[in-house]
Each structure stands twice: as structure tokens, then as C-alpha cells.
């Protein structure tokens, strides 16, 4: 409502455009004094005449000259009268018009502003968007004129905002208050900073304007913190889905064998390097399809990590059953070897894994809230993997065996489950899922030999909180930890958040040593 009234006011107060350029103004462009030139540029800009673009452009291109007392444009071997644009005879000895940096900046501004009157709607839109961050009070009448001419609703909305920003410095308290009211509807930190001075009595003598500004800032603050929190929940979700991919595999191997695989983070690394390898293959042989390396990398990384996992199980972990603490150390040794192998093979530096073009960009929900595609896709991917694992664990024979061994290894062996083979398969499966997590990770963070190290503690925390041998536990714990830690990070910083979460987990274990979802049954140690 206020908006429409405001637009109406602008329409009523606006001036009509002039027909031709004023020769006096044009000639002033060639004045000796820089300030005179600037004034002329501003006057020309305010005329909003499309013809002014021609002259100002010429000036910016250094083709404006002074012949006698008249400004002329010289293009190659042709000369034109600057004011009318008519072709004239080449003047005898034209003096070039000096354009210093100050003038150049002024010209760039003027040309940008005049784009608001461009016949092409796309150009107008781009110009209006650019104006949002760089509007000066002097532009107010010009913007009013642009508003009056504008028919496109989207551009119009942008212009209303720009005009309101320009009007904040207006001498008229009514116009200021109207501008404040319009700006109070937005959700942008930049506009909040613009409004903030008006809440101070020293800057804003008028009470009505000041109160309006105070409530506008408050309203913007409320919306900003709401969107910020929403953004944090979203990044928390995407962190949680990475944690989920890392923890799913760990939950399976820990559930089945009671073994903490300290090399699990390095399996993530194997997956990420597989993505890098696939990208290199595509770049070398299929450069036209390079955007599609990612789907091709998914199976590769699954099988690469699964193969490494199966090898680890067969050569080392198998021989350490019942000695969980030693397994911890042995798998740590494996992780050191994998890290050093990656350093030797790919170098100690991080390698570059590019986002495919269809994953860059994002959905802009609000000016300060953009949901990047890569994070959205990762969340979807995690859900997809979760679904596959669920199907595998609950609808296939292998899954049934795995669950049987998790619940009671001896009994499962007695009824004919090949427990040794199930161990290898389960370990390979867990490793493969970690490899998939590595592909996802390669899209949002650095790929380097040390990338896995940071995730083992986090993903084990997920397993501890979620409880062993339960997919649901891992899911809730991963998402919960992801969101909780991002929200905490928002107001306490990353380090404090990490420590707070650790403390929370230790307290949590006091209450529920079996995790959120405990397996029902009788256990004895």
C-alpha cells in the first residue's frame, strides 16, 4: 500500500524529458575546469536523454574535441557536432578534451545510470540491479523519471528501492519517511546499514522519520536473523549429510565387527581422489563431456574404496578379532600408509576437483540467502545412498546376514551364515559408502592427502550418539550433530562449538551409554 502511494507521489512530482541536448551544456563538457565538466556531466545525465549517451560515450572514448568554442566528436576522419549529432566539416586544429580519473569515474557512473533508459529491458534490469549497491542522493530526480517510464514490474520494484535509497538524504521529512517505510520492507544487510544512521537523533532531527527508521531496522533485523538461522540449518543439513555418508559405513563395520576403523577417513580420501582421477580421464579423452565426469566417478569411487576396504579386512583386520584396541592401532597404521601413498602418488598439495557447471550457482531465496546447488545435490545424494543402504540391509539376503552377524555372531554362524565372508563384504560395503562420501566431499571441500583426518572423530561421534547397528540412529545423529554444530558455530565460533559438542556428547553418554537407538537384547561383556 505504502509502496503504491509512494510511486504515485513520484509520478506526480516528476519532470518531463527534454527533446534535444542543450548545446550550452554539451559545450561545458569541454570546459577548462574539472568541476565544470563534472557539473555538465551531471546535468546531461539528469536530462535522461538517450542522445546524451552518445556524447558521454565519446567523451569516455577520448574522441570529444574542442574546435573553437564548440564541442565536436571526431570519429576517424569524420567529425560531428556534439550537441546535435549532425556531420560537419573536419575542424582545423581540434583540441582534445582532458579526461582525468575523477571525470572518468563520473562518466562511468553517468553511462551506467543512463542505461536505465535503454530500450532493452535486459540492460535496464542489469543497470537497476547494479544501482542497488551504489546509489547517490543526487540521482533521486533521475530515478523518479526512470520509474515513471518503466513498465516492467521487476525493474520497477528495483527502481523503487533505489529511489528510496536516494531519497533517504532528501530534505523533505515526508519523502524521507516514505523512503524509510519502503526500505523497511526489505531484507538486506546493506540497507540496514543505510537506515542505521537515521535511528540516531544527531543525524535525524525529525521524530517521525526516526521512529520509522528504528522500527524498520528492527523489522529488517528480525527477518535477517531468521534467514541467517535458516541458512545455518541448511549448511548444517549439508554437513550432516556428509557426516551421514561417512558415518553410515562406520556404523556398519563397527556394528558387524565391533571394530573402529581409524582408516575410515582415508577411505573418504580414496573416494575423493577417484573423483579427481575420473575428472582427469574425462579432461584428457572426453573434453566435451567433462561436466559428466561426476556421475561416472560415483561407481568408480565406490568400487575403489570397497576394494581398499576388502584388502584391509583380509590382510589386517581379520587377524585381530576380539582385540579391538589393537585393531584401532593397526587401522591407524593403515591410515598413515594410505595418506603417505596419496602424497607419493598425487603430491602433498591439494588437487583441484571442479564443480560441474550444472552444479554451480544456486537458488536465491532471498538477497542474503542463496542455497548453492552443490549442497542441495549432496543432500539429495546422501538421501539416495541412505535409501540404497536401507534396501540393501532390509530387503536383501546379504543385508539379513549382516544384521544377523551384528546381533549375534555365534548364533548366526551356527545357522549357516558364512560369517567370515560377511565380514569382508560388510567391510567392503562400509568402505564403499565412505568412498561415495568422498565424492560428495570433493565437491565442497579441498581434496588432499590429509582430508580424511578431520572426519574420523566426527563420524565416530555420530556412531556413539546414534547407537550401534542401527541406520536410524546414524541418520538422526548425523543430521542432528550437523545442524547443531552449525547453529552453535553461528554464535560461538567454530572452535567453541566443537568443544561444546564434545562436552554435550560426553554428558549424553552419561545418560544413554547405548546411544539414541539401542539394540534391544541382552549383552554381557
Amino acid at each position: 500500500m505504502t509502496k503504491t502511494i509512494f510511486v504515485f507521489l513520484l509520478l506526480a512530482g516528476s519532470l518531463s524529458a527534454r527533446a534535444a541536448l542543450d548545446p550550452a551544456q554539451v559545450n561545458q563538457l569541454a570546459a577548462e575546469d574539472s568541476s565544470d565538466k563534472v557539473a555538465a556531466i551531471q546535468l546531461l545525465t539528469q536530462s535522461a536523454d538517450p542522445d546524451a549517451v552518445r556524447v558521454l560515450k565519446a567523451m569516455a572514448d577520448d574522441s570529444l574535441f574542442l574546435a573553437g568554442d564548440k564541442a565536436v566528436i571526431i570519429d576517424g576522419d569524420k567529425a560531428f557536432d556534439a550537441a546535435s549529432g549532425a556531420a560537419i566539416a573536419m575542424p582545423d586544429n581540434p583540441e582534445s578534451v582532458t579526461v582525468n580519473n575523477r571525470i572518468r569515474g563520473e562518466l562511468a557512473n553517468a553511462l551506467a545510470t543512463l542505461k536505465l533508459f535503454d530500450p532493452d529491458a535486459g540492460v535496464r534490469l542489469a543497470s537497476a540491479q547494479k544501482l542497488q549497491s551504489s546509489v547517490s542522493p543526487a540521482m533521486a530526480p533521475l530515478l523518479a523519471r526512470a520509474l515513471e517510464k518503466e513498465s516492467d514490474a521487476k525493474i520497477k520494484a528495483l527502481l523503487v528501492l533505489a529511489h528510496a535509497q536516494a531519497d533517504l538524504a532528501s530534505k523533505d521529512p515526508i519523502a524521507r519517511r516514505a523512503a524509510v517505510l519502503v526500505l523497511g520492507e526489505t531484507t538486506s544487510p546493506a540497507i540496514r546499514t543505510l537506515l542505521l544512521p537515521l535511528t540516531d537523533k544527531a543525524n535525524e532531527p525529525n521524530n517521525r522519520v526516526r521512529y520509522a527508521a528504528i522500527s524498520a531496522v528492527k523489522a529488517i533485523d528480525g527477518r535477517l536473523s531468521a534467514t541467517e538461522n535458516f541458512g545455518r540449518v541448511f549448511t548444517g543439513l549439508s554437513l550432516g549429510s556428509i557426516l551421514l555418508l561417512a558415518a553410515l559405513g562406520l556404523a556398519i563395520t563397527y556394528g558387524v565387527m565391533g571394530v573402529i576403523n581409524m582408516a575410515h577417513g582415508e577411505l573418504l580420501m580414496v573416494g575423493a581422489y577417484s573423483a579427481y582421477g575420473m575428472q582427469s580421464i574425462f579432461r584428457a579423452w572426453l573434453p566435451e563431456y567433462v561436466d559428466w565426469y561426476l556421475p561416472a566417478a560415483i561407481p568408480l569411487s565406490f568400487f575403489a574404496a570397497a576394494a581398499v576396504g576388502a584388502l584391509m579386512e583380509r590382510t589386517v583386520i581379520r587377524w585381530l578379532y576380539g582385540r579391538t584396541l589393537e585393531t584401532l592401532l593397526a587401522t591407524w597404521g593403515l591410515s598413515l600408509i594410505l595418506i603417505q601413498a596419496a602424497r607419493v602418488l598425487f603430491g602433498a598439495q591439494n588437487v583441484e576437483v571442479a564443480n560441474p557447471s550444472w552444479m554451480s550457482g544456486g537458488i536465491e531465496l532471498l538477497p542474503n540467502l542463496i542455497l548453492p546447488w552443490n549442497r542441495i545435490i549432496i543432500i539429495g545424494f546422501a538421501l539416495f545412498v541412505l535409501f540404497l543402504v536401507w534396501v540393501l540391509m532390509n530387503r536383501t539376503r546379504l543385508g539379513m546376514f549382516v544384521r544377523a552377524v551384528t546381533q549375534n555372531r555365534a548364533m548366526a554362524g551356527c545357522v549357516g551364515v558364512p560369517t567370515a565372508r560377511i565380514d569382508t563384504l560388510a567391510f567392503a560395503l562400509g568402505a564403499g559408502i565412505a568412498g561415495l562420501g568422498g565424492v560428495a566431499l570433493s565437491q565442497i571441500s579441498n581434496v588432499g592427502p590429509d582430508m580424511g583426518q578431520g572426519y574420523i572423530v566426527d563420524s565416530f561421534m555420530v556412531v556413539v550418539v546414534g547407537g550401534v547397528g542401527q541406520l536410524a540412529g546414524a541418520v538422526w545423529a548425523a543430521l542432528g550433530l550437523g545442524i547443531f554444530s552449525k547453529l552453535l558455530e553461528g554464535w560461538a565460533g567454530a572452535v567453541i562449538a566443537k568443544i561444546a559438542i564434545l562436552v554435550c556428547i560426553i554428558i549424553f553418554i552419561q545418560k544413554r551409554p547405548q546411544g539414541i537407538f539401542a539394540l534391544k537384547g541382552r549383552f554381557v561383556d
Binding site: 584396541l325 593397526a330 597404521g333 603417505q340 556413539v464 572452535v495 553418554i509 552419561q510 551409554p513
Partner: protein
Amino acid sequence: MTTRNSERTPFTIRFFSAMTRTQWFALGAFLAAALIAVPVLNLAVPEGSAFHLSAYAITLVGKIMCYAMVAVAMDLIWGYGGILSLGHGLFFALGGYAFGMYLMRQIGRDGSYQSDLPDFMVFLDWKSLPWYWSGSDNFLWVSLLVVAVPAIVAFVFGYFAFRSRIKGVYFSIITQALTYAAMLLFFRNETGFGGNNGFTDFKRVFGYSVTAPETRLVLFGLTALALAGTLVLARWLITSKFGRVLTAIRDAESRVMFIGYNPLWYKLTIWVISAVLCGIAGALYVPQVGIINPSEMSPGNSIEIAIWVAVGGRGTLVGPVIGAFVVNLAKSWFTVSFPEYWLFFLGLLFIVVTLLLPKGLVGLWQTLRARKPEQGAR
């Protein structure tokens, strides 16, 4: 009557009977070597001679003796208590930082900024010392901190962890998370411990120059004494009734509980003692090495402590010392000669020791020695 008699045995006798005569003799030989032979070889033997001990060798051995103390402390909790801590680097670093504060204050106005404050605080534009630095120029107070800070951290953490009967891999991972979180905390400049760079550029200790050979030898001797003391204390602990209950808890916690012991206090006691020993080792380490920074708390460092113990042999006291020396000498040789392969070697060491040498080098030697007379008798 006999039980009465054993109860009446004076403390000193019990203490001395904790070790056999050979063990006391070996310990005496070790101390004689460290306190007499090493200074003579370093100071009295001319530099060109084949018997001269270089300052580098003294620092290296002194450093490794600190590590050996940590390894013995780790063995107390892991080898005898069955609790694998992956966070002992934290206690080591806490002791080191506590003593490092004293060393930083000893720099006085000789730092690059000629200020009363340590250089990093001037750099951060701090005007005065934070409250937890107060008294850090007092040696006695700092010595108390070296013992008390690891003890308090260990007590609080251990109380909650052992009370809820967290054990096995759960406990290991949580200790790892603990040291990881502490590392992140100490990396921050605002924490007030020099951030990334930690403490370095020490000038003096007790007013003597840190780099002087005499100071080094004194520190070396103190470390040797501390290591010997640690070994005697550990020996006495594990041969006492306390140590026997502890070993029983390691082997069958539920049964010990059913007999009527509360494992919490036994575990907590050995856990805190272990942490304090680490703290003292850290305090001796810092002036010899000349730097302490948060990377001492990295999870990898703490796990390495476990491998020293595993290589030497768990559940023996001389094993961790041997393990610490073997692994660290190998490390300083590898990182100079084949830096690329050190991690491969270390990784393989983890695997080979756990797979093939579950009792470590000492266990291997014992098995070999036990087999020989058998074969001879046959």
C-alpha cells in the same frame, strides 16, 4: 598371623622390595651413566674425539627420555589398566605449556619487542597478562601448575568417563576427541598461549642461559632422575595391592565389581597419576627442545605414544622405555635420511607390532629366552 606380619612390613622395606636386586642395580647403572658419564663425555672429552658426546645427541636423548616417561605413564594405564588413551599428548602438552609460561616470563625484556609481556601478546596488542598467567614468573607456582593442571583435567574427564563405564574403543575415541578439541582451542590466538606458534625463543631457565652446555646437562640429569623416579614409582604401584586390583579390573572388570571393589576409583587414580607423569615429562621436554606448540596435542602424536608402548611391550615397565627409544631413534634417522618413507615405516610398525608382536620386543625376548633352556633340556 602371616597376614599380620605382611601388613606390618615397614613402608621402606615394601618399597625397596618392589624391585629385585638386579633391577635396582640396572637403575643405578643408568643413573650413573646419565649423571656422571654423559657430562664427562660432553665437557671433558675434546670435540674431535670419537668419545665426545655432541650437544645434539644430548638433546636428542634427553628428549627421548621425556618420551620414555610418557610411555611408562601410558603403560600404567594401558598395559596394567587395560584402558587405551589416545589423548595422552594433551597432558604432556599441558605440562609443557605450564612450564613454558615460566620460560616465557624468564625472557623478560629480551624479546623482539623489549616488553614485559611475551612477544605474541605484544603482537596481539594486549596490554596486560591474562589472569591465568598471574604468578607464572614464580617457579614454585608453575611447578604446582605442571602437576595440578593435567591432574585436574584428567580427574574431571576421567570421573565422568569412568563413572558411566565408558571403556574400550569408546573411551579411546573420546580421549582422542578431547585432545583434538584442546588442540583447536590452543590454536586460537585469543586463548592466550601463542596460537599457532606456541612458545619458543626461550632465553633463560632459573636465570641460566638455556643454550649453555651446563644448563643442558643439568636438564638432562633431571630428566634421567625423573625417568628413574617414574620407573620406581610405577614398579611400586603395580606390585602393591592397588596394582593387583588394577590388573584384575583390566582382565575382568565385572568380576572385580562382584567381589566388592569399585573400579571407578582405581581407574581414576591410575589415570590421574598417568596424566601427572605426562605433565612432568612435558615440563622437562620444553626447555630442552625449546618449543611447545599446539601440534603436540594432535591426535597423531598421542597415538604414536601408544605405538612406543606396543613396540616395547605392554605390561612390562622396561618395555615402554625401550619402545620409546627404538621408535624415536628410528624416527630421527628416517626423517633425515628418507623423509618420504617415515610414514610408511610408522604405519607398517603399527600393523606389524599388533599382528605379529602382541607382546612387543620385551615379550619376544622373553619368549626366546624361555624357549632356549627348554631346547637345552631336551
